[in-house]
Subunit: 142 residues, 2 copies
């Protein structure tokens, strides 16, 4: 990504927002759920269904994404994405993922109404490797 | 708290649960919201309304608690409690707070439908000091 794009898409931590459920520093879980997910061009990819929290550290480990028609996916498939792959953009009120669409589409998924193998180290490693996540804290916590 | 009580109320990290939205390690934000909060004697104090997440670190900073009649409070008051003050107990499917009821009752609160001064360092420090939170990472992040 070129420097100008990085500047456009970085988190605007000093910008206040009018919605008090979200400040420069904190965001409510209720606001995260349902928030739009976009690619770096600003196309809407879908929304966040829920987030998965590591009980011991209190850190968010995954966002569960529900993609829309933009990726050519039928509804009903959910994607667990390591949290560090998402960057919040306050101007767009959306999370941005800087990942090629083919990779997003072909990522490990699970059917809505079911759950993947949360807490299985092999599954977690597969997900982190697939996306190139740098969240080593999560895998080393096993 | 005597050693036997500590053993009773500690998080049972190795115990599997039948609800796949929650494993020994991960819990969904949707499951945290609405989960019961109890004192160490097992009395129901209320439930978690939502959680506030620090955007930069991805860590949970606060739980927003809605107490019930046990504390003699009328509904409608919400309490922001530093996340490290809550311990999840898988056997009871509840978060346990080991804080005297007088302290819980007289803690800083805000009206439902409004929001407190999230992101104001003085407010945050007041809350962390009040509860004796050890979450120094949060205050030092300013």
């Amino acid at each position: 990504m070129c420097p100008a794009m990085v500047e456009n898409y970085m988190v605007q931590t000093v910008q206040p927002t009018s919605d008090t459920r979200e400040t420069s520093r904190l965001i409510s879980s209720k606001k995260v759920e349902g928030t739009s997910v976009e690619n770096t061009r600003g196309d809407n990819l879908g929304h966040i269904e829920e987030i998965m929290i590591d009980k011991v550290s209190g850190k968010v480990a995954y966002a569960v994404l529900n993609y829309g028609s933009f990726l050519g996916l039928m509804g009903g498939k959910l994607f667990a994405v390591p949290w560090d792959m998402l960057t919040y953009n306050t101007q767009r009120s959306a999370y941005v993922v800087d990942i090629a669409e083919d990779r997003l589409k072909n990522a490990p998924s699970f059917d809505a109404g079911t759950q993947p193998r949360w807490g299985d180290r092999d599954y977690d490693k597969q997900l982190h490797d697939y996306y190139g996540s740098r969240a080593d804290w999560y895998l080393s916590g096993y």
